[in-house]
Amino acid sequence: MTHDEIESIAALDAIGAATPEEQGLFAEHVRDCLSCRRARDEYAEAATLLARDLAPVAPPAALRDAIVGAVDEDDEEETRERGPRINPWWLATAATLFLALWGWREIGIRVTRTDNASKQAEIARLEEENRLLAQKNEKLSSEMTSLSAAGTRTIALVGKEVAPSASARVFLEPERRRAIVFFHNLPPNAGDKSYQLWIIRADQPAPMSAGVFDVTESGSASLTVENLPVETEMKALAVTLEPKGGAAQPTNTRFYVMGTT
């Protein structure tokens, strides 16, 4: 539609005579048309001339009091509903302080949570350490019992060519068919190697593994051997360096320590 056509509708709309269809077209057009919006306002103002042409009639005086009274009451209610005025500056300050304190509290909670988690981990680590120490203590007590037992025999193993300063002492309990072996001055084994203790038996040609162990920089180690053959069947004890974890049979004859029973 042209602007003139829209203006014609505006003229009718100002006196409420535009059809619903015309009102729709008009509303859609003026949304984006400043000049037609201006025409709409001008026609609306012009239409009121019809009313302003009427001879004024004073309404009853009591009506004025009723209307002003109603408005005045409404104003008082609104003031009451609004409540006391709050200075925006104080409101902003209070809000800032609240946010700062809330933020500080949140940070504190997070730090405390992190700290708690760290302490819980430390507690778990200490409990595990305590458990291992208890096991070690139990083992040492058992070993002390073995060492001090009346039937315990001592066997000395001496260093051989590859480790002449090395030595070992075996505390053997024949009745319990158990032995505790303490090694000294053995060279530390590489990461891919393990020391292995062999029992050379009188009744069998092949050596029997009595266990594997590692030696650190201190050169010391200990090994508890259970279910030993009866004493009479054991001929000698020897240690070789084998692949990590040990071997079914010795892979070499380079003995580090050796001794007969």
Partner: protein, 187 residues
């Protein structure tokens, strides 16, 4: 109108100034009441709608835009809209279509009988308005009044006047353009 500048009151009312509201009432209540009587032909209804009009002006004062029109035009629009709504609902209750033509003469008579209540400060403005309407051909003026005061549609006016719809529509458009042109001259 620009020849009689008056202090704007609605902005103060928007700030909750009751004394400004009283001034607005004193300034325009007679104009609005005359319009409501013209439309409703009932003092009781007119007084009710007058109260509704000014209470709405109080609550909606912040929505008033001086760029779009004058304060009196804003009040007249509120009052007319409410009065026409009431008139239409009244028509739904009783068939008064045959009386519509007679009502115009009744209203005119009623208003003319109350001219003694004119407010002095508005007399100059009213004279200017009368001058603006003086050049309006009678046929155009009747068509405009039937729409503006009776709330009749184009087709209802055409039936009532026994004129083709296109003729009635053209009369209304020409009449409104003349009113707008005269208003521009005042401004």
């Amino acid at each position: 109108m620009s020849s009689m500048p008056q202090v704007a009151l609605v902005p103060a009312i928007a700030r909750g100034d009751v004394s400004a509201f009283e001034a607005l009432y004193d300034r325009y209540s007679s104009t609005i009441y005359a319009l409501l009587l013209r439309i409703l032909n009932s003092p009781d209804d007119a007084q009710e709608v007058l109260q509704e009009t000014f209470v709405k002006a109080w609550t909606n004062a912040k929505m008033f835009d001086a760029v779009r029109g004058s304060e009196v035009a804003w009040l007249i629009s509120i009052g007319r809209s409410r009065a026409i709504d009431r008139l239409r609902s009244r028509r739904l209750r009783s068939d008064r279509e045959n009386d519509a033509g007679r009502e115009i003469s009744i209203h005119s008579s009623f208003v003319e009988n109350t001219t003694g209540a004119d407010v002095a400060v508005q007399s100059q403005e009213r004279a200017a308005v009368r001058s603006a309407l003086a050049d309006l051909p009678e046929a155009q003026r009747i068509a405009l009044e039937l729409a503006y005061f009776e709330g009749l549609s184009q087709s209802e006016i055409a039936i009532k006047l026994g004129e083709p719809l296109g003729t009635v529509k053209t009369r209304m458009q020409l009449g409104m353009k003349k009113l707008r042109d005269r208003l521009r001259e005042f401004q």
